[in-house]
Every structure is written in structure tokens, then in C-alpha cells.
């Protein structure tokens, strides 16, 4: 008898953002932890229905943005005052007003790196393989369908009870996904 493949969890499909929103509130209230919703676009207010806290990206941007600005000013100060002091147009070595543009640009540059690569890091992207891609239905998440996935590793996960819960939320389809 072939061994039953390991399961990633259950995947439920919904047809409207409203249905998904309600279902997410139900799953959240049932106390699951390792679950997620998948939508073609960011659904307004869904993070509340799922109980997701605020993003950490702003902190990363803040730290990197100010580091970039400090780096930019430091670079100009070090090269113009310490490493290679040279009188240009009779201006002081530390011509800080003239250093503003580069300081600003480097702050923006590193802040943007923080936003993009911080987002990638928090989202664990790139993840080119994911168990959910085993589901044929799931391909429509990027078109017009809305999904909830509950992972088997969740302590509250029970193949039958979880399936019942999802079916009772108005899902048009519930299926198991192989890991």
C-alpha cells in the first residue's frame, strides 16, 4: 500500500472578498495560528479580520534611511575634511550646506532598499517552490478567486473538524493540499 503523502493542509476557495472576509473572521475566532488568506489584490481591512498586527517594514525603513543619510554625510565629511582636504572656491572644508543633496539622496536610496528588501525578507521572498502551488485550483488566486489555507502543523488542525469549519464558512470548494 503506497504511503499516503504528507499533507500541507486545507485550502478553501471563495468567490467574493465579502465571503472571504467573513470566513477569515470565523477562522480567526476559532483560534488558528498557522493559516493564511490568498487574494488577487490587497483586500481592504482583511488584516483586521485575520488579526494580523502592523508591519515591521516601517522600522526597517527608518533605521536604514537614517543610516543612509549618516553614511552620505560621513562620506562627504571624511573625503573633504580628513582624507583629501582641498580648498575649492575658497569654501571651508566642511561645506555642510553643499553636502545636503548627496546626504538626502543616499538617505532615500537606503530607505528604499530597506522598504523593498525588508519586505522581501519579512515575506520570505523569493520562495519559488511552495506547497500551495501543488493545487490546481490555487492558480486562480492571482485572477479572481480568494483562498484560505490552514496548515496541518497548526496545533488545532484536525482534518475533519477544520474541513467542517471551512465548509461552514461558505467556501465553494475545500481540498487537501500535498506538502
Amino acid at each position: 500500500m503506497p504511503k499516503r503523502p504528507k499533507m500541507y493542509g486545507l485550502l478553501a476557495e471563495y468567490e467574493t472578498p465579502a465571503a472571504l472576509y467573513k470566513a477569515c473572521e470565523r477562522v480567526r475566532d476559532a483560534g488558528y495560528g498557522a493559516w493564511d488568506a490568498h487574494t488577487p489584490f490587497p483586500v481592504h481591512g482583511l488584516e483586521k479580520a485575520m488579526g494580523i498586527g502592523p508591519s515591521l517594514v516601517p522600522w526597517i525603513v527608518c533605521v536604514l534611511g537614517f543610516s543612509g543619510a549618516a553614511l552620505g554625510f560621513g562620506l562627504q565629511y571624511w573625503t573633504s575634511v580628513i582624507e583629501y582636504p582641498l580648498i575649492i572656491s575658497g569654501k571651508p572644508f566642511n561645506s555642510y550646506p553643499a553636502f545636503v543633496p548627496v546626504t538626502f539622496e543616499l538617505g532615500i536610496l537606503l530607505g528604499s532598499f530597506g522598504a523593498v528588501f525588508g519586505m522581501f525578507g519579512l515575506n520570505r521572498l523569493p520562495t519559488l517552490y511552495h506547497s500551495l502551488f501543488n493545487s490546481k485550483r490555487f492558480a486562480r488566486f492571482s485572477d479572481d478567486r480568494f483562498f484560505i489555507s490552514i496548515e496541518a502543523r497548526d496545533p488545532k488542525y484536525d482534518p475533519d473538524k477544520t474541513r467542517k469549519l471551512l465548509e461552514s464558512t461558505g467556501a465553494v470548494a475545500v481540498e487537501e493540499v500535498e506538502d
Binding site: D36, I52, V102, A115, F120, T127, F133
Partner: protein, 616 residues
């Protein structure tokens, strides 16, 4: 009985906020995906023509740069005193065009202008390609391209560092930062749409290529939270960036001591000019594109009109700056300054100056006329004039200020050589080649963002016909098929339903939509749309089968789309008693209007006129 519908051809009303829907014809999410992805699957024939022409022009660019490297900058018309010549004119021209993309994507995003979603992707691509073209020109203008890395603060064997007090060095940092941030912003916006392309790809190569760039995106709500935070912060940082970049480009001129350049008005004047020329180029690109790619329902007349208004505003600001430069030249009493400006308007380059004024100051004033700013053909012609005018603005600034400087013995006249022309045409080839490749392989509309501003994307949106018992006390229907797109389609057009959904929205505690949109749509918010009381005959009319209704609705919607495409939309009445007009709202049951007639027996709450379009 009042039928207030604003005088416009855009019939579809967003039932949640009561304004004109941004996407016309009430498509489903899937139809949006298909509409955007179809040209990628099967490009129109015209694409090949454009691509081949662009690639030939790109070849011209390669040829002229190769000859330049072989022979040196002497092949250009640059001379002393006009040492900057065409390369810097073209540099500023392209950088200016590169400003509308980030303005549309970042500034309009911060102001919650939802209409940006239809045009931001293509304008961001335009930005990136324009900045690539711009970066070419200082690179080849230095003459010795192989030492172009000298402005970068790299440790080197000469133990020298760049001069950070020079605006030209600021420019290196500003433009390269701008390019990098614009590219990141564009790519982050593309990730969900590349995932869409991956998931509908039919060939393995496409699935692999899109799959790699989609990074394994799976639309996770937990990812969207970080994604939206990152996107918002990128917009917040790109907004001061876009203003700083063209300010710094203007410092190249303004920080010098040259009359005609040394003015404090330059930074705001350059920024306004950049937005002006950038929106001009967006219109030049989008007006043909929306037609060839059949995207008129996504990039509607309203979008073009809004862009035209930005052009009118910034064009007028630029005109003000032209006037103010002359005023200050006179008011300062500085003889050199006065001379430069008199020479600008009346001297050797007066022809260029007056071309610039006609194109930049007079052309945009036509936009005051509603007929013109709602006509794609007229806007296309205007946008060409804007492009020409803004190129001449940079030419006037560079050439007229340099060619007659302090000593008459050093005066000279600059005229371009054949290679100047070839390089400039070639840079258009580079730009259009990149743009052709973009429209060929990537979705030119931000699919995920457009879907997110459609009415049915709101989780509090309930297609009339299935009320949510939590939200409306008067609900009597039961929730039937949840995704009956036909129900959505039929319901949204009915005025009664809009007022009803607005009512149900007001009763929700956590709705956050009020802050979303401050675009100046006329009146639909303040004056609720009141439609007919249902006539008894209408009630008694036999109810067609749901599928049949869906078909009808689809056909009618398709018919309306065709009407949208026409350039003379105002002629079509929204309300009409004449069945030949196929109005959207009608008392006559024979018209088969888009909303379905109510079934009399099912619902007895007819007194508030709420239940048209309720479906079984």
C-alpha cells in the same frame, strides 16, 4: 421626480462611494485580467511595425555613438561658448519626461487618487526608459566614456575624491538614485501581476520566466500587509525624491554664475516643466495604446481628462515662470541679465523661443474647453506640441544663455550637425524599443491595483439581490449564488441600488472608505441618485431566466462599451423613453434595461423602491 445624473457618458456608478466607476462596463475580475493579458498573448500587428521602426532608430543611436567614440565630440556642433550643446538639452529633456511616472505612481498614490491605477504601470515604465535615455547623454558627452566612473566616490590609485560641492556631482547621485528607486518601485508593483502572468502562462518558458520574477508570490494576506507598507513608504520617499531630482538638475544651471541660468526660480520652474512634459509623453503613449490594446474601459476618458488638467496646471505654471524670468531680468536692473532675456526673445534664437512659448504656454490653454480635454484625438495632438515645446525649452535655456556670454569677442552661434540629429533620433529609438518590449511582455496596466479599486473589491460590497442580514434590517432575500456576476452586473447599474448600498454602508462601524478619494468628481456624492419608482406594469412584467438576464446584461454592457469608445459620447441620453436608444434606465419594460425587473410577488417592500434587481 428628479433624475440627476452628471452630464457625462460614463454611466457606471460605484455603488459604494456613489461616484463614477473608474472601470467602465462593470467587468468581472477575470475580465480585467484577460483584457490586460490578451495583447501579451497575441500582440496586434502594429506592434511589429513599431518595434522594427524603433529598433532601426536604436541602430542609428548605436552607429552615432560608435562614430562618436571613434572620432570624438568634434562630430557634434558643440563649440565654445556653447559647450553643452545638444547632449545636455537631450539629457534634461529625457529626465523631465522621466518625472511623470513617479509623480503618477507616488504623489497621486499619497493623495489617494484612485484613477492612477490605470496609468501608473505604463508611466513608471516610461520613467525608467526615459531615465536610461537621459543617462546616455552625460555619459557620451564626457567624451572619454571609459572614465565615466570618475564622479563616483571610489578609492583609486590617484587617491583623489570627487568634489562634493559641485552640482554636477549632486546630479550623479540624484539621477542614479532616482533610477534605482523608480526601478524598485516599478518592480514591486509588478510582482503580483507577474504572478498573474505566471499562473495563466501556457508555455513552460513563459511559466519559468514569469515564475522567477514573481519570486513565488502567492497573494498571502500576511505578505500583502508588508507589501502595502513597503509600497506606501516607497511612495512617501519617492515623492520628495522626484522633486529633488529635477531641482538638482536645475542646480546644474542655477548654481552657475551665468546670466539666464543664475536664477532662484529654476528649481520649481524645472519641476513644473518636468511634470508638464512627463504627462505630455504619457498622453502621447497612452492614447494610441488604449485604443490598440482595447483598454478604453480601463483607461477611460476621465483618466485622460484628469491628466489634461495636470497639463493645464503645470503648463500655466511654466508660462508664469517664463513671464517672471523677464520681470526679474528687468526689475533686477542687471544689464547682463536684461541683455540675455532681450536676446532670448529677439535675438538669434528668437525662432526657438517663440516655438517654445507657443507650444508650452498657448497649447495647454485649449484644455480649458471640455470638448477638447475629453477628446482623445485632440489631446494626442496637444501632447505632441507639449513634447516639442518642452524640448525647445531646454534648447532655449542651454543655447541662448551660452551663445552670447559676457564678451562679444567670444560670441558664437550653435547649430547641430547631422550626428547631433542622429543621436537624438537614436535616443527616441532606444526609448521606443524598450517601451515596445515592455508592452509585449509585461502587463501595461497594474492589474492587481485596478481590481482593488473596483466596487466589488470592497469586502463590504454586497451585490444587490443578496443582502447581508447583518447590515440591512430591511433585508428579506436570502443569499443565493454568491458569485453571480450577472447579479453584480445587473444590479450596479440601477440607481435605486446605489442609494441602497450607500445606506447599508453608512450603518457599518469600521468602514474606512471615506478618506479614499478626493478627486473632483461632480456632485454624485452630494446628490443621491434617485431613480424611478417602479411602475406597476414593470413589476408585472414576466421575469426572464437568470441566465438569459445575464446574457442580456452582458450584451447591453458590451453595447455600452462600444458607445464609450466613441468620441462623441455626450449625445447618448442616459434616460430615454425611446426604446431604440436602449437606455440604461427606463420605465418601459420592453426595453429590457440592464437591471432586472423585480418580481412582484417576492418582496413587499416596494415602497422604498429598493428591490429592483433582486434576484432569485
Amino acid at each position: 421626480m428628479s433624475h440627476y445624473i452628471p452630464p457625462t457618458h460614463e454611466h457606471d456608478i460605484d455603488p459604494v462611494d456613489g461616484r463614477m466607476a473608474l472601470v467602465q462596463g462593470q467587468p468581472t475580475f477575470h475580465e480585467i485580467t484577460e483584457a490586460v493579458a490578451k495583447p501579451i498573448d497575441s500582440p496586434p500587428k502594429a506592434w511589429w511595425i513599431f518595434f522594427l521602426v524603433s529598433v532601426s532608430m536604436l541602430g542609428l543611436f548605436g552607429l552615432s555613438v560608435a562614430y562618436l567614440l571613434w572620432e570624438g565630440v568634434g562630430i557634434w556642433g558643440n563649440n565654445i561658448p556653447v559647450g553643452w550643446g545638444w547632449p545636455i538639452v537631450n539629457f534634461v529633456f529625457w529626465v523631465g519626461i522621466g518625472h511623470a511616472g513617479t509623480l503618477i505612481s507616488a504623489v497621486l498614490f499619497l493623495f489617494r487618487q484612485k484613477w492612477r491605477t490605470s496609468i501608473n504601470r505604463a508611466s513608471e515604465a516610461m520613467t525608467i526608459f526615459a531615465v536610461i535615455c537621459a543617462l546616455m547623454f552625460p555619459t557620451i558627452h564626457v567624451g572619454r566614456v571609459w572614465v565615466i566612473y570618475w564622479p563616483l566616490p571610489l578609492p583609486n590609485q590617484m587617491q583623489m575624491w570627487p568634489n562634493f560641492r559641485s552640482p554636477l556631482l549632486w546630479d550623479v547621485f540624484a539621477v542614479s538614485t532616482y533610477f534605482t528607486v523608480s526601478l524598485l518601485f516599478w518592480y514591486v508593483g509588478l510582482i503580483p501581476d507577474i504572478a498573474t502572468m505566471r499562473d495563466r502562462a501556457k508555455t513552460a518558458i513563459r511559466r519559468f520566466a514569469y515564475g522567477v520574477f514573481a519570486l513565488g508570490w502567492r497573494g498571502s494576506a500576511r505578505h500583502w500587509v508588508n507589501y502595502e507598507a513597503a509600497y506606501l513608504l516607497l511612495a512617501a520617499m519617492a515623492t520628495p525624491l522626484v522633486l529633488s531630482v529635477h531641482s538638482i538638475v536645475s542646480f546644474d544651471f542655477a548654481v552657475s554664475q551665468l546670466p539666464g541660468w543664475h536664477t532662484t526660480i529654476f528649481p520649481p520652474y524645472f519641476v513644473a516643466g518636468a511634470i508638464f512634459s512627463g504627462f505630455g509623453m504619457v498622453l502621447t503613449l497612452m492614447i494610441p495604446l488604449r485604443k490598440w490594446f482595447h483598454l478604453e474601459h480601463i483607461i477611460g476618458i476621465k483618466h485622460l481628462e484628469n491628466m489634461a488638467k495636470v497639463i493645464l496646471l503645470t503648463g500655466t505654471l511654466v508660462g508664469y515662470a517664463y513671464g517672471m524670468e523677464f520681470f526679474i531680468a528687468w526689475y533686477s536692473g542687471n544689464p547682463y541679465e536684461t541683455f540675455v532675456f532681450a536676446n532670448r526673445a529677439l535675438g538669434d534664437y528668437a525662432w526657438a523661443y517663440w516655438i517654445m512659448v507657443s507650444c508650452n504656454v498657448i497649447t495647454p490653454q485649449f484644455i480649458w474647453f471640455k470638448k477638447i480635454r475629453r477628446s482623445p484625438a485632440a489631446l494626442f495632438i496637444l501632447s505632441i506640441f507639449v513634447n516639442i515645446g518642452m524640448w525647445f525649452e531646454r534648447f532655449v535655456i542651454v543655447a541662448t544663455s551660452l551663445h552670447h556670454d559676457f564678451l562679444p569677442s567670444s560670441w558664437a552661434y550653435f547649430s547641430p550637425t547631422m550626428w547631433d540629429w542622429a543621436t537624438m533620433l537614436g535616443s527616441f529609438g532606444l526609448f521606443f524599443t524598450l517601451f515596445c518590449l515592455f508592452v509585449r511582455f509585461l502587463p501595461i496596466i497594474a492589474v492587481a491595483e485596478v481590481k482593488a479599486v473596483m466596487p466589488q473589491a470592497n469586502p463590504h460590497y454586497h451585490p444587490p439581490g443578496h443582502e447581508d442580514p447583518d447590515l440591512t434590517s430591511s433585508a428579506s432575500g436570502t443569499v443565493q449564488s454568491r458569485d453571480d456576476h450577472a447579479a453584480v452586473k445587473t444590479a450596479v447599474t440601477s440607481g435605486e441600488e446605489s442609494s441602497k448600498v450607500v445606506v447599508s454602508k453608512a450603518s457599518e462601524p469600521d468602514d474606512e472608505d471615506e478618506d479614499e478619494d478626493d478627486e473632483d468628481e461632480p456632485d454624485t456624492k452630494d446628490e443621491p441618485i434617485v431613480a424611478d419608482e417602479p411602475e406597476p406594469e414593470a413589476k408585472a412584467a414576466p421575469e426572464p431566466e437568470p441566465e438569459a438576464k445575464a446574457e442580456d446584461a452582458k450584451q447591453e454592457a458590451a453595447a455600452d462599451d462600444d458607445d464609450d469608445a466613441a468620441d462623441e459620447p455626450e449625445d447618448k441620453p442616459l434616460f430615454s423613453k425611446d426604446p431604440a436608444d436602449k437606455p440604461l434606465f427606463s420605465k418601459d419594460p420592453a426595453d429590457k434595461p440592464l437591471f432586472s425587473p423585480p418580481s412582484a410577488k417576492k418582496d413587499d417592500k416596494a415602497d422604498d423602491g429598493d428591490d429592483e434587481g433582486k434576484e432569485d
